[in-house]
Amino acid sequence: MRYSKNWLYIDILVFVTFLPFFFVLPVLMKVFVIVGAYFVYKKKTSVLWLLGAFSIVFSFYNFWEFKDFRLYVKFLASMLVWGYYLQRTKEVNFYVKLTPFLFFGLGIVFFQNVYMLFYLLFEIFIFLVLVFYRYMNLKDSLIKSFQVFLFSLPLVILLFLFFPRVHQRHFIFGFSGENYSSSFSGIVKASNESVTLSKTPVVEFKLSKIYPKIYLRGDVLNIYKNGEWVRGISIKDKLVSISDLEVYYLKEYPNLQNYIFAVDLPIESEYGKLDENFVLKSKKPINKLLFIQITSALNYKLSPVKFPFIDLVYDKTKNLNAQKEAKRFLKIKDEKKRLSEIIKFFKSQKIVYSLKPKNLDPLNIVDSLFEKKRGYCTHFASAFTLFCRMAGLPARVVVGYMSNSSIKGYYKIYSKDAHAWSEVLINGIWVRVDPTEFAYKNESIKEFAKVKPNYLDVYLSYIRFLIEEWILKYDAFKQEKFLKFFKAHFVTIIISFLIFVVLIVLIAKNLRRKELLDPLYKKLKKRPQKQSVYEFLSSFNDKRLDEINELYQKIVFYKSTKEDIKKLKRLIKNYKGEK
């Protein structure tokens, strides 16, 4: 089969732009794409017709599923590829020329992730190479394309940063290419089960500065029943004061739950809804990667709109020893002092932090923790909260995540960072108390060491996060932030940018590898375009050039000796140009 150059260009472009879709197509369609290519080669239009119709019908027969936008896109991509195959057996026409553009457009709408960003750059580069390949050989067109690509980079960066953006919501559909992870539930059990730490990522975010400890608010639980904390009817909280505001992007991995783990305390979010206890929840279970802008107050005063009697409830028939102990704290009238005395008492129990507690009685969690002296965050928070209630202070358990390690304010939270702590009402304000901090010592350091995140992983995640935050999610808000930074560091940025431009120009200019025959080409004022060096030099019908040609071919294809190279250089030097 004659393979025309027009088809070569179109096939390459269609292949490159279609490739991301190939991986998301249903299996039957994948098979069709591969088998179909053979029938395209054999020009069997009718077979392609039947095969395509069969594959599409059997891949997308369930129309009910079409409410899922992603399925719709898969269907669209399948139709496009089928159409292309049918047209591919004919002459080059408008439809086949349009196909790569359609795939390209669909691709950048539906694939919104870092991989697509790099793939997009690759696609653009391939397009450039094909443009230059019409004029020169492959090697030269690669070099030329790279040069043009490099030269355009500074302009693209400038336009990207300064092109006026409007406040516009990012869309939350399409393929994000992340797996589900689920390790969190709205129930906290103070059971004997030992905990295995997992390194599944949960959320990522970057704050403007480093905080020694960051708490992510998951859920507020206030009823302790049968050894489990659950969410009961809760009194609405209101904000009394806020400071240390952070506006940041939260990247949450799919978890099939409604919780959005925002930095304590979330005030505002572009996605999801805050409940009466400032817990951020999404309407639908999060089944794809979430990337949303949230405002949180790192310093806040939260107060219930009326006294939360429900947060004083405890089972009077359980934890009898603790109840007895708690009585003496009731005498302390000053609530603040009472709390500090409770903390002192809790510390004096010398409870060891352990991921493998033994013989704890969930129903009598306070007594048994004080007796067995081994437990993890859930036990600490449960016991402390109940003890506070016994001592007359309304208290509740908050579950979520806690992290104390960051790279320049970037936090990557894993499942292993799941945590529980208490909130105690002191003088009408909810105060966060993390009873796990009162542990006498940590027995599970080894377990934690095992799941210590790999630095490379964290750094790579950090880079990916920065790209997502500053490129994929760049918007009016980010632009304002950038412009502020730009004004503050005007000279530095300008100088760095100029250095960058100079570097690019230097790299682009030196891309062409120095060739032995370069000085000769200079003398000839010509270089081979779409022909071999041999053909090029022979075309002059010049004896001196023929001699150079022969020697050059020997050096390149047979044997390269120093003497030969020297001789070649001498011949080129002595060559005085065309007669």
Partner: protein, 248 residues
């Protein structure tokens, strides 16, 4: 070799230029509607490439030089000028031309290139100065001077490096190569072409002289051209004779 001079460059947008604008608008809408930064990035790349493409195209056409080797051009003849590319560039040059007048002709030739993205065609005119020899018109030398045509066969003689067309091929088989001798051709004589004796205007006269001179050279005859104020001898060589005629 005649080095050519550059003149100003003209740019004409092509259909692709407007298609690219349309494409950029589409990508802008895509970017704007959902703040899709991938669409924005594509848009900015297309913009940068177009801009760089325009610069590359301009540089390319600016580098475009052609030289013209010395060739014999006769007025009124359609010629394909054998332009030679000078340097590393991508362009086309129009090379089919008819020069109507003899003498030094100045003509501008159009170089065009749509390198690299075919967004615009870049044009450049290059002035070319060529010497055009007079048109070969008028009576044939044979009828005017020799009275009878050359093909009046007179006999054979021994081969002595004569023109191939006079070879008597059957003699080759006998291994005794002979050439044909035609009537009207005598050795040692010199033809005289007198300008004043030719009828017609100046151009007719020059064309007639050129035709005779051309044919005389073809036949290997020696001649002398007498012009009102100068004499030209065939011994000066073809190009010199014709140059003088062209410029007269």
């Amino acid at each position: 070799m005649k080095k050519l001079l550059t003149t100003s460059i003209k740019v004409k947008k092509t259909k692709n230029f407007y298609l690219i604008i349309l494409l950029m608008v589409l990508f802008f809408i895509m970017g704007y509607v959902h703040n899709n930064n991938l669409a924005y990035i594509t848009l900015f790349f297309i913009f940068s490439f177009s801009l760089i493409g325009m610069i590359l195209g301009r540089v390319n056409i600016k580098k475009a030089f052609y030289s013209l080797p010395d060739i014999r051009i006769f007025a009124g003849d359609k010629v394909v000028l054998p332009f030679k590319k000078e340097g590393d560039f991508f362009a086309e040059i129009e090379n089919e031309v008819i020069f109507e007048k003899r003498g030094i002709n100045k003509k501008e030739f159009l170089i065009k290139s749509s390198y690299p993205f075919k967004l615009a065609v870049f044009y450049k005119k290059i002035p070319v100065k060529v010497l055009v020899y007079p048109a070969l018109k008028g009576e044939s030398l044979k009828t005017a001077f020799f009275g009878k045509e050359e093909n009046d066969f007179e006999g054979l003689k021994q081969y002595n490096y004569e023109d191939m067309k006079y070879i008597h091929w059957p003699s080759l088989a006998k291994e005794d190569l002979q050439v044909k001798v035609f009537g009207g051709k005598k050795k040692g004589r010199e033809l005289v072409f007198d300008y004043s004796k030719i009828p017609g205007n100046k151009e007719d006269k020059i064309s007639q002289l050129a035709k005779w001179a051309y044919e005389a050279y073809e036949m290997g005859e020696e001649f002398k051209i007498i012009l009102p104020d100068m004499e030209i001898n065939s011994k000066e060589g073809f190009d010199e004779v014709f140059k003088k005629l062209a410029l007269y």
